[in-house]
Symmetry: C2
């Protein structure tokens, strides 16, 4: 039996379009939100400033940043500067922008903080439609993680449960944007690009930029992204 | 179907008695070992020196240290200096030395490194007998974690599996020590204490010290621990 005794939620906020929408959804559903962001050695660290803007604008009780040198593990174009970010378009394979076990790492740290906060809800903006190449964005991963989380913590012992919310998991990018616009998300302050400039301008050619731009195009809505000129 | 194509292993090494024994077991079973340790803001940080000594003496290909400010999350006597380490003996409740979601966090980071190394084996010295108060030391947690790990990564997609090895899980402390002595583990270089001195001397009264001392006593073997005098 699932038991949730609070509406406190830890929301993973990267500063991108998906996590901003996720935070807006959590807020609109009445959750009291605590934002968590990671400085994990990513090359697009300017996104942390975007995360700060997003959390402030949408409104959270607290915003925590955890430092974690995932670049010492490497194995991804996002954490190893020797591996280039692909700019030639999406393929069917798991892209080199996949960061080994990243979502599990982020979710376990969110879980630890949630346990301290007595927050039983975790929100993550994973999406299985437009990012189907990442194994840790699949619904079956989330289900397995939730089961693990309830055994890893005091939850089972003390009679409550953790729930992992993934409100975007089955939406297309256009549907995500539509939902966010409905909730007044200001996408001009978000950064999706894998390799933005120091100023935060988007490259326009990486997978994250392509998917984002296609989403706005499909909706026939003006794209507020600031691209490199 | 489980598929393991290498005998490379990532072994979590804390510098304590259990993880030293686990590393010795992994080595004796023919695994090529990579040691992983965490500087997570623990008050017993001198254990990291012990971890270095243990990995060097038993022999690993590489020893990686990951920095992670779990103290910013707090919620445990081991990461929050305002919470005292209990010294009055074991109780039936989850002790305040439990660090929220610690083993899940450590294992997900080990998983990330393992994926980069093409290592399919993870070793962790959890024990469900003498530490039954910690939810993340239970066999059902390990089983759930392994299932999650195989969905979180390229494993399933690329046709191999991760295995979480817990060679100590059903052993008493005395049995662990017996196994380690059989494998020539030098316990004098390990530190189990939750609040050792800067020099690494053990307090003798915290739960970790008590369990360790009882183990040596039960075996009728000289305890090589250097206690505060």
């Amino acid at each position: 039996m699932k038991t949730y005794t609070t509406k406190n939620a830890v929301v993973l906020v990267s500063g991108g379009l998906d996590s901003a929408t996720t935070l807006a959804i959590a807020t609109s559903q009445g959750y009291t939100c605590y934002a968590l962001s990671f400085d994990y050695g990513q090359r697009h660290r300017v996104e942390l400033e975007a995360a700060r803007r997003v959390s402030e604008k949408i409104g959270v009780v607290e915003h925590k940043f955890i430092h974690l040198n995932l670049d010492s593990i490497g194995g991804s174009a996002l954490t190893d500067s020797r591996i280039n970010v692909p700019i030639s378009g999406l393929s069917d394979e798991i892209p080199v922008t996949y960061v080994p076990a990243r979502n599990s790492v982020f979710l376990t740290l969110a879980l630890g903080w949630a346990e301290v906060l007595s927050a039983q809800h975790l929100f993550i903006g994973v999406n299985a439609v437009d990012y189907s190449g990442y194994p840790d964005c699949r619904p079956e991963f989330i289900t397995a993680f939730e089961k693990m989380a309830n055994l890893a913590t005091k939850a089972g012992v003390e009679g409550y449960s953790f729930k992992i919310h993934t409100p975007l998991i089955h939406l297309t990018k256009a549907q995500i944007i539509q939902e966010g616009l409905h909730l007044n998300v200001d996408y001009s302050i978000t950064i999706s690009c894998y390799q933005p400039t120091q100023k935060g301008d988007a490259c326009g050619v990486c997978d994250a930029c392509r998917l984002r731009a296609e989403g706005f195009r499909a909706l026939n809505v003006a794209d507020p992204t600031q691209y490199v000129t």
